[in-house]
């Protein structure tokens, strides 16, 4: 049986990989995928604690988190599609229409 600590360390590793993607990469799609990795790390934490504490609420929160991640991915991809049509790029450093 896998100890809880290993699942928590795996979750922390996933979170740090996602954090690196958000901080270091400039491509919008990759940043969106990194945010999904961050969400998956939190979902893994929910499921791990739920299994080891015997409380089903954590797994319910995991299901709701998956739904939120799907909604975020759908809107994010549509936004990047529209940005690509207007700016010709999805490099986040070159998109300046929210700046003065």
């Amino acid at each position: 049986m896998i100890p809880l600590e290993y699942e928590l360390v795996l979750s922390a590793l996933l979170f740090c990989i996602g954090l690196y993607g958000v901080l270091a990469r400039r491509n919008g799609i990759i940043v969106l995928m990194s945010i999904e990795i961050l969400l998956n790390a939190s979902i893994l934490n929910f499921v791990a604690f739920s299994s080891y504490s015997g409380n089903a609420s954590g797994q319910v929160f995991a299901l709701l988190g998956i739904a939120v991640a799907a909604a975020e991915a759908a809107v994010g991809l549509a936004v990047f599609l529209a940005i690509y049509q207007t700016h010709g790029t999805i490099e986040l450093d070159k998109i300046r229409f929210l700046k003065w």
């Binding site: 049986m1 100890p3 809880l4 600590e5 928590l8 360390v9 922390a12 590793l13 979170f15 740090c16 990989i17 954090l19 690196y20 901080l23 270091a24 739920s50 299994s51 080891y52 504490s53 015997g54 409380n55 089903a56 609420s57 797994q59 319910v60 299901l63 709701l64 739904a67 939120v68 799907a70 909604a71 975020e72 759908a74 809107v75 991809l77 549509a78 936004v79 599609l81 529209a82 690509y84 049509q85 207007t86």
Partner: protein, 89 residues
């Protein structure tokens, strides 16, 4: 390696070390997982995932459904092609 990537790697590594040390260091985590049923038809309290989902989180299910519907409509509105080669509002 650029400065931005170096700082990102340093921040992520430092955060991982702190989290791993806090997880592995002397915390009395539970040792064995508990089996949680997907649905318990004889439950008096919410002890299955479906029981919990549709009893304690019924309002949340409705809100998530509204969120998914809004996301679908918003995604289609942003990505629809009015004329060839032009996407978006």
């Amino acid at each position: 390696m650029k400065a931005r990537e170096f700082l990102s790697v340093a921040a992520a590594t430092a955060l991982f070390v702190v989290m791993a040390l806090s997880f592995l260091g002397g915390v009395g985590w539970p040792h064995s997982p508990t089996s949680i049923p997907v649905y318990n038809p004889n439950a008096t309290s919410s002890n299955g995932i479906a029981n919990e989902l549709f009893n304690a989180f019924a309002i949340t299910i409705i809100l998530i459904a509204i969120l998914l519907g809004a996301a679908m409509i918003g995604g289609v509105y942003l990505a629809k092609m009015d004329e060839p080669g032009k996407v978006g509002p």
